[in-house]
């Protein structure tokens, strides 16, 4: 369950990363379709990165002498990672709700105290989750490292691949 929740978070994050890679590159007013395309591009880049960390986890599991113990070790690491990411995800979700459906002053508040600073600290939160997962477990550390790098490369990759210049 921990791994599935992390995978779901990673995919949602990849879609937002694709969106962020696009924003600020298109001066048009009506661009929701292009924003959705950018989110799909984020997913298209994020999903293989996620599969890579999943494949590494499965390989470590299969190669272990005691698969039950290895599974418990990786699941505990995933749980520690989730404890870092879940509060962040909840705050982002609440800020987004406030921004998208609140009056515009509430939307400004959500951007100024929520979405802006949250975007800024996102790499630190990703790293904190990876360190928590890696704590005391070498196999978990390798999976967490691959997963964290995968999460962090989506936005710059999508940006450089599709939005290096204003569209």
């Amino acid at each position: 369950m921990n791994a599935l929740l992390l995978a779901a978070l990673a995919l949602v994050d990849a879609a937002f990363a694709g969106f962020r890679a696009y924003t600020g590159r298109d001066g048009r007013i009506r661009k929701s379709k292009r924003a959705l395309l950018a989110a799909r591009r984020g997913l298209a880049v994020g999903a293989p990165a996620l599969l890579l960390s999943a494949a590494l986890a499965v390989t470590l599991l299969v190669a272990a002498a005691d698969r039950g113990a290895r599974y418990a070790e990786l699941d505990a690491a995933a749980h520690r990672m989730l404890l870092c990411y879940a509060p962040y995800a909840v705050i982002v979700a609440l800020s987004l709700v406030c921004y998208l459906w609140g009056p515009f002053r509430a939307g400004t508040l959500a951007v100024v105290v929520g979405l802006g600073p949250l975007t800024l600290v996102r790499p630190l939160v990703v790293l904190a989750g990876a360190v928590a997962a890696a704590w005391g477990s070498l196999p978990a550390a390798s999976v967490a490292a691959v997963a964290a790098v995968g999460v962090l490369v989506v936005e710059p990759f999508v940006h450089r691949r599709w939005y290096a210049e204003p569209v």
Binding site: T23, G24, R25, D26, G27, R28, I29, R30, Y99, F104, R105, A106, G107, T108, L109, V111, V112, V113, L115, G116, P117, T119, L120, H159, E165, P166
Partner: protein, 323 residues
């Protein structure tokens, strides 16, 4: 440290012919160093120059368009269109009712840049079909891009390169966003004085609220949202250069015949929500109906000099008395 934005230094025009003049890269760097801005100087030193040491105008234009496109994202997130429509809708309603203009109502965006505000107003239809939306800017590259973007979406608005106060037909309402902090002292007074034309009923100029949080918020926001170091530098500098309410009201008083007011002044509103707010000028006869049109809540946010001096409130109608 003198506060300078790099984008103000990299383009120069002959004031008479509007012909573009060469800008030496070394001069831009030297001015920033002299201002004590070594970070800005490093960014400027990375700008492309030709063999004579002049900044490559095409590269500068591309960079400015890219920076302004990134900057537009901030206007989108801060709902700048909604903010200005909240005031322009009732303002234009009372101007229509008062019969202040014979022809179409004309809203002119001064220093429009990429024309986000004008294009948003055109796309949303927020002001009604009888409003002529015009964006004006001295920068040819930005105006050209604004026009291209408007055509790409078939928006009913137009863009003009030149002086917004020297158009063939004056504005019914002058507006701007993020322009005021570029002017200081006599230039700021002159900016407002130029709007005291007979056909002009009002002005509404949005800029960053000069709160203590503004520079910190600008740093966080530009760091999180903008990739170009030039845009980040100038964005933070904008917040540091923002004028306080008293300075704006004093300067706005130079627009003869227009009553100066600030909407959501510093100290009266949540600084997290009021990152941008306007200084407004209206013909005195329009002020009572404007307050009525705004309603009791928003009308209370509209204050004049008597309200803001010393931070003591003297009643919601003191703005009229301040004229």
């Amino acid at each position: 440290m003198q506060l300078i934005e790099i984008s103000d230094l990299v383009v120069d025009h002959d004031p008479g012919t509007r012909e573009r003049l060469p800008v030496r890269g070394a001069d831009v760097v030297a001015r920033l160093v002299a201002a004590g801005d070594r970070g800005g100087a490093r960014i400027a030193a990375g700008l492309a120059c030709d063999d004579d040491g002049n900044l490559d105008p095409l590269a500068v234009d591309r960079r400015l368009v890219a920076v302004h496109t990134e900057l537009q994202r901030l206007s989108e997130e801060l709902r700048l269109g909604d903010r200005i429509a909240e005031l322009l809708r009732p303002l234009l309603a009372v101007i229509r009712a008062a019969g202040h203009t014979d022809g179409p109502l004309r809203v002119v965006d001064v220093g429009c840049g990429l024309g986000y505000l004008v294009r948003w107003l055109a796309a949303s239809g927020a002001l009604g079909p009888d409003v002529d939306l015009v964006g004006v800017d001295f920068n040819a590259a930005l105006v050209t891009e604004a026009g291209r973007l408007a055509r790409a979406e078939g928006l009913p608005c137009r863009f003009v390169r030149g002086d917004a106060f020297a158009l063939d037909e004056p504005a019914t309402v002058y507006v701007s966003t993020g322009v005021l902090h570029h002017f200081r002292g006599d230039d700021l007074d002159a900016f407002f004085a130029a709007q005291a034309t007979p056909g002009t009923a009002a002005f509404c100029h949005f800029d960053i609220a000069a709160t203590g949080l503004a520079p910190i918020g600008a740093w966080v926001f530009h760091r999180a949202r903008m990739r170009d170091p030039l845009g980040r530098h100038d964005g933070v500098m904008s917040a540091r250069r923002a004028h306080d309410d008293e300075t704006l009201l004093a300067a706005a008083a130079h627009a003869d015949g227009l009553t100066p007011l600030v909407y959501e002044p510093r100290g009266r509103s949540n600084p997290f929500c009021t990152t941008l707010r306007p200084v407004i000028g209206v013909r005195p006869d329009l002020l009572p109906p404007l307050r009525a049109e705004l309603g009791p809540g928003p009308s209370g946010r509209l204050v004049g000099r008597a309200d803001t001096v010393g931070g003591t409130r003297q009643g919601a109608s003191a703005g009229e008395g301040a004229a």
